[in-house]
């Protein structure tokens, strides 16, 4: 199993780095070009959430292997203000700052598994997985 890849997210240009690393990892693990694009897109959205709301954090990427299937996991962590109403944040069209309001729910739609953990004042962690089909 390959080692994890960590991309610190501080500036908006780090978003580009994170999604490129994600695409490379997806390609190396046998994802189709369409699915590589979806992975890159989801990373772009959650990394931008970090830049917009938490100022700094990191995106961690890891190849996955479970009984008979391969995939990748993306974990985006920040120690920002947290999300006051996670349920609302997961609703399409909801946004407080500069996203289109598709960020989190959009990322959830293009990935296979999605988990949002947030604590006010402590930060937010998004864990998403996608499997090779």
């Amino acid at each position: 199993m390959s080692a994890e890849i960590r991309v610190p997210i501080e500036h908006e240009r780090d978003i580009v780095t994170a999604r490129q690393r994600g695409r490379e990892l997806a390609a190396a693990n046998g994802f189709s070009s369409t699915d590589q694009t979806l992975v890159a897109l989801a990373i772009s959205e959650i990394a931008r959430n970090i830049v917009s709301y938490a100022k700094r954090g990191e995106v961690m990427l890891l190849a996955l292997e479970e009984t008979g299937r391969r995939g990748i996991v993306v974990i985006a962590r920040d120690e920002g203000p947290g999300i006051a109403d996670p349920e609302l944040a997961m609703k399409d069209g909801y946004s407080t700052a500069k996203s289109l309001g598709v960020g989190l729910p959009g990322a959830k739609r293009v990935m296979d598994e999605f988990k949002l953990e947030t604590q006010l004042g402590k930060g937010t962690t998004v864990t998403m997985k996608k499997w090779v089909r």
């Binding site: 999604r19 490129q20 590589q36 694009t37 979806l38 897109l41 959009g106």
Partner: protein, 124 residues
């Protein structure tokens, strides 16, 4: 990487590079807005052939560019969205509504030519 803008007759062509950061996009928005005025352009083409991802921020900014250009008298066409990119956008729920699209640069130019013709001859 800044986005180079070429001028072909009364059309401005922005050639987006493979790596496009938010800053580059914002810069492009300002550059285009300025140059439409200076060059009295009637059309803007944003060529995204080289791009492998168009996320919500990029989509929103491009829409912003198109609306601004319209207010300054220029039509905008986004050309060269790749199959995977288009697929990803609709999966995410993005549609570039209200912005014209064309297959590639050639088609984009043809579209702007038609739009100009149907508007009638320009007063010179």
């Amino acid at each position: 990487m800044a986005v180079p803008i070429l001028k072909q007759e009364d059309v401005l062509i922005a050639q987006v590079q493979a790596i496009l950061s938010d800053d580059d996009l914002n810069q492009l928005k300002d550059d285009l807005s300025n140059r439409i005025g200076r060059a009295r352009s009637r059309g803007v083409i944003i060529d995204v052939t080289a791009l492998d991802v168009l996320d919500s921020f990029a989509t929103r900014t491009i829409r912003g560019i198109a609306y601004t250009a319209k207010l300054r008298g220029a039509n905008t066409v986004v050309v060269g969205i790749q199959p995977d990119v288009a697929f990803g956008m609709v999966q995410l729920g993005l549609s570039l509504e209200g912005v014209e699209t064309a297959l590639d640069l050639e088609e984009g130019l043809a579209f702007l030519r038609n739009a100009a013709n149907s508007r009638g001859p320009r007063v010179r």
